[in-house]
Amino acid sequence: MKENHPLENSSFGLVVLYVDIRHSTKIARKLRPLEQKLYYETFLNEMISIIEDFGGYTFKTTGDCVIGFFPEEGGFQWADNVILCGLMMIEVVKNNISPYLESKGLPALECRIGADYGEAQVIKLSSQKLPFNVEVVGSVMNIAAKVQSNADTNQMFIGENLAEIIYAEYRVDCEYKGDLKFDGDTYKLFKVNYALG
């Protein structure tokens, strides 16, 4: 993110999306360093490209996880794009990344995705040694991570706030999968079953 980004020092709406590799620690332990490099590099780079293709930004990568965000704009297309992005990630993992890795003698790969919509703030960090100097904070970051942790292999889960603003065509194919608990409050989770054409 550029310095003096207009989002700095303000609250803004966004969707946060997490995508990671299932069982990567277990798989990586069996790979040689160069194999690990290809395994992670192929996944992380392609996930970043997909986020950008669907109008999002990559916030950061942490090990086997990519965190993307989609800032709120006018209309709702930006929110619909998150659904298409997540579903396309699953298709790319199944149809492109896994076969490619297997052709190189590496194990197939599986992912899981979580996303939710909420409010966040950009804060500036003072460290001169970090590779980035801004951080996005807000409960949506933590909730999206919790939403993702409920997803199983090659599944996309979304939180209630995102579910309520996506296109009706995608919404009718969301399956209620239980609740997150917040001090007595409940927050609904949905699995996205929409099939890309």
Binding site: T42, Q77, E91, V140, N161, E164, I165, R171, D183
Partner: protein, 102 residues
């Protein structure tokens, strides 16, 4: 703490369209809340639409109040990006193989 709701979405479906003035590009249309998620219901004597998933009732009175706010607003056609799976997969495959050979 449960996150606050920031937005409300109401998708409409156009059911009838009628030309008013071809030269000026004027037309009249009738739209209803998307029937995939909204169904017509009467609750406490009020006619309106019930959201089948979110369990929200939107009365016709409230819908009427919203209608004038649309006056003068342009009709946007939002681009539905990259829904074509096969086309996107071809592009992604090239990218993966390209990065690996570079």
């Amino acid at each position: 703490m449960k996150p606050e709701k920031r937005k409300f979405r109401l998708d409409m479906t156009i059911t009838e369209i009628e030309e008013v003035d071809r030269e000026k590009g004027l037309f009249r249309f009738r739209a209803i809340p998307d029937p995939r998620v909204w169904e017509k219901r009467t609750i406490d004597g009020k006619n309106g639409y019930w959201h089948k998933i979110d369990n929200i009732f939107l009365s016709e009175e409230e819908l009427k109040k919203a209608a004038p706010t649309l006056k003068g607003k342009p009709i946007d056609v939002e681009y539905i990006g990259m829904k074509n799976k096969d086309e996107y997969l071809r592009r992604s495959k090239k990218r993966i193989e390209g990065k690996s050979s570079s």
